[in-house]
């Protein structure tokens, strides 16, 4: 316990320095600014804003990146409430009741409770990370390559189960993702694989390029297909602070949402995405009058928003302790950390404690900033949302190009976002969901490395994955999940959750 507090105070000592406070503020501000744009999710936001952190020292850069991440998350919720365009999967749920509240002239209260709920969830999640960080890092020490491989298999199975639509298509996407990750020079033999002899493919496909193409450019192409019909609230925003009744109705959903989100966020394989859905379903089940949901129930905003933010934050745990990114946003964080010379994993905490604890403390600072920035600036976000898409998307396009060019200074990277954008657009048109592919790509390299190592240790015996108890347990969980997801009755329920 003493450790817990001394670590946190070390962290706050770092995070509360004037420079780092300023960076957290700036990160939250620009993150929200970009994240609020319709059709720009957190992944595209981070990829676009990554270059602005290049000139900073690693701690400052990570603090700013975390700020951008939370800002983008919160910006997405703002768009969901005010325009009914969810920027990403996790704010779909917020749009249901949040937008209805906005139409009833209660947009301010919806935004307020979202910010307050998120802040509370963020505070709890920060404590959870601080408390679990050290013990889980210990776990990393007993994990060998066999266990790592099985854990990642489990993560990918989670991603399949959590993806929308056909399970077969999700599995295919994961395989394609892992296949894409094998492009480039083979680490052990040095032979080039599937590079078409092109020198810039020898290092493999850059993750930021793939993510920007699939989530930034493809999204623009898809939005252009639908004639624009943006339903920006015309009603007054109304007061921002929820009143006593609102608080009374929403404090329990906030507590439950935080708990659900925090637990699901730790799971590898993008468990965080499930948090808002689970919280919404739970609140609806518990409500005295479930018919209010979908018609502007405040619980339907408070619960899922808290779950969303708690999950967004606890998904740092697998990354910081085991070095495994649980979702695409975290994978982008890996890329960002590597650029600053930090390889995420258990060694960060021991080798670089100021950075590790500083970042955790700055998560809380970032959440506080969001509360301070967002509420007074709602008017600005509303005006930004009224800019027509025909002017927004060329600007987004140019920022994407500049962002991706400045990462490696390679014009070929810029061309590749165009190529991957088109591929992503085709995938969307054919009913494939790109998120599992990205996760497969992220984990692909790590999986291959660990698979090879595990098989060298066991002298080519595949049974090693079942002989070792932890690995066998993880694989069993994966198998059970897959079987459950394929059962007809559960499948129906799963479809309902996602269509709701």
């Amino acid at each position: 316990m003493g450790d817990f507090f001394s670590n946190l105070s070390l962290g706050f000592g770092v995070a509360l320095s004037l420079q780092n406070l300023g960076l957290a503020f700036l990160g939250c501000l620009v993150g929200t600014l970009v994240g609020v744009l319709p059709g720009v999710g957190p992944i595209a936001t981070i990829a676009m804003l990554l270059p602005i952190t290049f000139g900073l020292d690693p701690t400052g850069a990570l603090i700013m990146l975390a700020g951008i991440y939370y800002g983008a998350q919160y910006g997405g919720s703002t768009t969901a409430i005010l325009v009914n365009i969810p920027g990403e999967a996790t704010s779909v749920v917020t749009a249901l009741d949040g937008h209805q509240m906005a139409r009833q002239g209660r947009a301010g209260v919806a935004l307020g409770i979202a910010a307050i709920g998120s802040f509370f969830a963020g505070t709890v999640a920060t404590l959870v990370i601080a408390a679990l960080g050290a013990p889980l890092t210990g776990l990393a020490l007993i994990f060998g390559p066999t266990e790592y491989f099985s854990l990642m298999v489990m993560g990918l199975v989670f991603a399949v189960v959590l993806a929308r639509g056909s399970i077969l298509k999700a599995i295919a996407m994961i395989l394609v993702g892992v296949l894409l990750s094998t492009v480039g020079t083979d680490l052990e033999t040095g032979e080039e694989r599937m590079t078409f002899g092109l020198p810039f493919l020898a290092d493999g496909i850059d993750f930021a390029v793939l993510a920007m193409g699939i989530f930034g450019i493809a999204e623009i192409m898809r939005n252009l297909d639908h004639t624009e019909h943006r339903d920006v609230v015309r009603q007054a925003i109304g007061r921002l602070l929820p009143n006593k009744d609102d608080f009374k109705q929403s404090y329990k959903p906030v507590l439950r949402g935080t708990l659900i989100g925090a637990i699901l966020g730790i799971l590898p394989g993008n468990g965080a995405v499930l948090g808002p859905f689970a919280s919404y379903t739970l609140e609806k089940k518990l409500a005295k009058d479930p018919r209010r949901f979908g018609r502007g129930a405040i619980e339907g905003v408070a619960g899922p928003e808290s779950a969303n933010n708690a999950g967004a934050q606890t998904s740092f745990i697998p990354l910081l302790t085991l070095g495994i990114p649980p979702n695409a946003v975290m994978a982008l964080m890996v890329g960002a950390m590597t650029i600053h010379g930090i390889i995420p994993g258990p060694q960060v905490m021991t080798k670089n404690p100021t950075l590790f604890w500083g970042m955790i403390a700055s998560m809380w600072v970032g959440n506080l900033m969001l509360l301070i920035i967002n509420l007074p600036m709602v008017g600005l976000w509303v005006r930004l949302l009224k800019v027509p898409y025909r002017l927004l998307f060329p600007a987004i396009l140019m920022f994407c190009c500049i962002g991706i060019y400045s990462i490696n200074s390679l014009p070929t990277d810029v061309m590749f976002i165009g190529l991957f954008g088109f591929v992503g657009y085709m995938l969307i048109k054919f009913g494939f969901e790109p998120a599992p592919m990205l996760l497969g790509f992220v984990l692909g390299k790590l999986m291959e490395e660990n698979l090879r190592r595990a098989l060298i240790i066991s002298r080519g015996d595949m049974m090693t994955f079942i002989d070792r108890p932890i690995s066998a347990g993880l694989l069993a969980v994966a198998a059970i999940l897959l079987v459950i997801a394929l059962l007809p009755s559960i499948r129906k329920g799963r479809d309902e959750v996602f269509t709701e």
Binding site: M194, R390, M415, M426, F430, D461
Partner: protein, 222 residues
């Protein structure tokens, strides 16, 4: 907007294909798998004990191919989604804008044809104006103003304040300014000129646009 496949036909096809979306998806996966198998054909697979470079890609490609076959089979057996509407305009202009940016930002050589590096000064407006035409509602005037105001903003932000290694303007441009000006001074002056031009375009074309709106309004009422 040009439409390749009409997705929202009122009457559904009564053919052997019952889920065109799965059919297309299956074919795409099979093509991808075939490409990967062909690319790894010369590589060594190795053994489980000492895996070669081709082991994983090859097995993954087989997995992708099998998923593709399963989707293909499903397309004939199970009723499914139709293909959505496609439009070529969006992707063509967006990709065109990206390519224009990529070719002009640092200079590019196509064999004997060499494009000089023109920097953000040219690449930014090109991307905005070409990309902007991806929607049929595009208006050149608005795009020009956007390009002239956003580009200097980015030049100052990325080139001046953040010091990113991004080429901002062609080297020839420095010749136009007094010799003792530093790169940064030239950058700021160029940005100021562009921003000024944006304001100028905005002010001079403002009246015309209102007039045209007015005309449309009148004709609408009559």
């Amino acid at each position: 907007m040009s439409v390749l496949h009409e997705g929202s036909e009122p009457v559904r096809h009564r053919g052997p294909v019952r889920a065109p979306q799965s059919l297309a998806g299956g074919l795409l996966l099979i093509a991808l798998a075939a490409l990967a198998l062909w690319l790894t054909r010369d590589l060594d697979q190795g053994t489980l004990n000492a895996m070669g470079p081709a082991m994983l890609p090859r097995w993954l490609a087989i997995g992708v191919g099998l998923s593709g076959l399963a989707l293909l089979a499903a397309a004939f057996l199970k009723e499914g989604d139709l293909l959505e509407r496609w439009s070529l305009r969006g992707p063509v202009f967006v990709i065109g804008a990206i390519l224009a940016f990529a070719f002009t930002i640092r200079g590019y050589a196509f064999g004997s044809l060499v494009l000089p590096g023109l920097g953000l000064l040219v690449a930014g407006p090109l991307a905005i104006i070409i990309g902007g035409h991806a929607t049929p509602e595009a208006r050149l005037r608005d795009l020009v103003i956007l390009a002239l105001s956003l580009t200097p903003f980015c030049m100052v932000l990325f080139g001046d304040l953040l010091n990113l290694p991004i080429p901002v303007f062609p080297q020839a441009l420095t010749g136009l300014f007094p010799a003792d000006w530093s790169q940064k001074a030239v950058l700021r002056a160029t940005a100021a000129i562009m921003a000024g031009a944006a304001v100028l375009v905005f002010l001079t074309t403002r009246g015309r646009r209102q007039a045209s709106v007015d005309v449309a309004d009148h004709s609408g009422r009559i």
